[in-house]
Symmetry: C2
Subunit: 439 residues, 2 copies
């Protein structure tokens, strides 16, 4: 292949034939195509965009670069749920056991957090003893036994995506919708589940700040999944404030357990129920969303979902006693309370900054090799539209020491904007992209 | 500096501050900034363009990456002439001795050919014994003695340009006007001459196919030279057909000697006289172009320019007897004649293809490490607008063997388009960009 001619074609906005795109991606994954040519290609693609056919070819090529998880031993529907990344978003911890309890098989390959967003694996690691590295054999056996497994993506799946992402990260080409979509979907397709539900976040703490962009991304992902023969749907959910009240690792596990105990209501609980309901409808386990919702609520109320979570923790080597005794989870020694300096209504949250404040405490990674402290984090006591009086508690910072706590407090205070007028909070679900008949 | 932020800024079309551009270029030249970030920057710049301030900053940074030739020992005007690259364009071989004969000091750092374009150094190398590597000391001494030196750019000048060009070449980012202008002008400014005349080629054998683009490039170069305190002007000359009748190395030297002998007229001779006349006016050695032209014609007619050429060849170690005896130049053993298959008028020449045909014979390089064969080439017997009858000779191919000759013949035939109607040839000079008062 004439690589320079292909770069010139993308540069000039011409469509690249699928075979050429495949060769570009695969030769890059084999370390034959040099980084500098791939980065020029990525920048040209960022600025010129990719057609639907090109996006499909990129996804196929990334998928072809590695192995695929073979789930053919699992009878019945296998499902995967994927969030594009947010703050205080521990839905997997609730949705996976809840959906498993309702008869679905959850095969969830998760990632670690980077930047302001959290990662499911880091949250699981906060549970004493929990293992997140499973072999394919262990994973399939576990799903057969208890209906769910949440673990790290094995290194053999989609190596091209890992290499491309590392390059995009240092060349300002992360944000191209087609590249995001093919990155997400190649991993989901390699994960093998026959039903895929995407939770595309939009807002100040999401990758997509604009509803239109989020819709485009969701649409593209659904098309890619459908074309690959998977039943694929997407929700566009709000990330203009942290989803739950807790931003950290152990504290997010705690919040998830409280939801599973039926002790919490609010946006986080609501999104978990909505996602689960969609999974039930997608897999024809419910007649409609209303029926599905009723099933999900019942599984929470009965304690069956909590029990499924306990079995999940136990099976992956974690301490099952955390379910009854939350004090067994690590907790930071320093706690600082933030209170409102005057009365007002919470108008906006710079959610990315809140995520960064939590990361700066040790709850996340600003660099790939940063160590996570499972015990630290931020508890936010207010939501958009809440009215507070001067002196009311607005947040609690859990830190390793006074110094990092005070820095996070300042970041947090700067991230919140108050109004003297009434503020209408955004909806939790902005849009839904229904599945089409699989190809 | 936050490199990713700078890449994002260029990607989004924002202007990059001069200090950041300087740091980008210099850290790349020091091999600190990785290739993949520079290539993403180059592609973003290709697609988003560069402002005048950015182009100036890029040029300054490239200049700052290496040494500069110090010509302060040379009393009187020092001049440099630069062609953006064409086919059958040996003007330096004529203009340098002609202008030197008329009192100018020519300090010409030349390059080798790449792709379809020829390079002055390759042509000089066709002269038995000729040296093209001179130290700065030798160069200055030679200019003091005989008024001209044409040699290779020393490796210490503008290393950033060499590194950037190598990367642009393999990432489809050669064609960005600002990058071309800063590449040309950083080398010219480092070369030290106080007067710079640019011969910007336009047409089917030039880098710029469009007169408007060529004008923009010429204008940018003149602005960069003027801002750096050099008297700078540009001609935009036609490259819709090879300039001379010969395309190769030894055969182009032969043609140049024939022009210096006063034996040839035509576009090549005409452009040599025009360029020399402009140099004389730029350096105030002539009252106007008419006076300058008369001086140049006189120096050709008298044999003084030819004599200056002989001294130049001799001083750089070449065989001066070639001037009287052209048979001392290497000549290929196989000659094939092409004749017209029917009557017609030459309507267009794919000049790049003609250049490639010559390169495929061994007269040029398709890759940097290709070896040049000085003896091969193509002689074109027709010009745009010429009327031929069936059987008339249209070209002669000089080759190493029958096989390469036949391949070049086919390429050449495909490169020529004939019309049954009268064709008006393009003008030789499309435009002139006059110097402004130096800054």
């Amino acid at each position: 292949m004439d690589v320079v001619a292909a770069l010139a074609a993308k540069r000039d906005g011409r469509e690249i034939p699928a075979a050429q795109l495949r060769e570009l991606v695969l030769s890059f994954a084999r370390e034959e195509l040099p980084d500098y040519q791939m980065s020029a290609f990525l920048m040209a693609g960022y600025l010129r965009g990719f057609t639907a056919a090109e996006t499909a070819a990129l996804t196929d090529a990334m998928l072809a670069s590695g192995e695929r998880l073979d789930l053919s031993e699992l009878a019945g529907p296998t499902v995967d749920k994927h969030s594009t990344g947010g703050v205080g978003d521990g839905t997997t911890l609730v949705v996976a056991p809840l959906a498993a309890e309702l008869g679905l098989q959850i095969v969830k390959l998760s990632g670690r957090g980077l930047g302001h967003t959290g990662g499911t694996l880091d949250k699981l690691d906060a549970i004493p003893g929990m293992r997140t590295e499973l072999s394919s054999r262990e994973l399939i056996d576990q799903v057969q036994r208890i209906g769910l497994a949440v673990c790290a993506q094995s290194t053999e799946l989609v190596p091209a995506d890992r290499a491309m992402y590392a390059l995009r990260d240092v060349t300002a080409t992360v944000g191209a919708p087609a590249l995001i979509a093919s990155s997400i979907m190649s991993k989901k397709l390699a994960g093998g589940a026959d039903t895929i539900l995407l939770d595309v976040k939009v807002g100040s703490g999401a990758f997509m700040h604009d509803t239109h962009d989020a819709f485009e991304l969701a649409q593209t992902c659904v098309e890619l999944g459908t074309a690959a023969g998977r039943r694929t749907a997407a929700l566009i959910s709000d990330m203009n404030q942290p989803l739950g009240t807790q931003i950290g690792n152990a504290i997010e596990v705690r919040e998830a357990i409280e939801v599973l105990r039926g002790e919490r209501t609010g946006r986080f609980t609501e999104l978990c129920l909505t996602l689960t309901a969609h999974l039930l409808v997608l897999t024809a386990r419910a007649q409609d969303l209303k029926d599905a919702r009723r099933q999900a609520e019942q599984a929470l109320r009965s304690g069956a979902a909590l029990d499924r979570f306990r079995r999940f923790v136990e099976t992956q080597g974690g301490d099952p006693a955390i379910v009854e005794d939350l004090s067994r989870l690590p907790i930071a020694s320093v706690t600082c309370e933030l209170s409102a300096s005057q009365e007002g209504c919470l108008e906006s949250v710079d959610t990315e900054s809140v995520g960064r404040a939590a990361a700066s405490l040790g709850a996340g990674r600003m660099r790939k090799d940063d160590q996570i402290d499972p015990a630290v984090g931020i508890e936010l006591c207010v939501s958009l539209g809440d009215q507070v009086a001067g002196g009311d508690p607005i947040a609690r910072v859990l830190a390793r020491d006074k110094q990092t706590a005070e820095r996070a407090e300042r970041q947090l205070r700067d991230a919140l904007t108050w109004s003297t007028e009434t503020v209408v909070p955004p909806p939790l679900i902005h849009d839904t992209i229904e599945p089409r008949a699989p190809a």
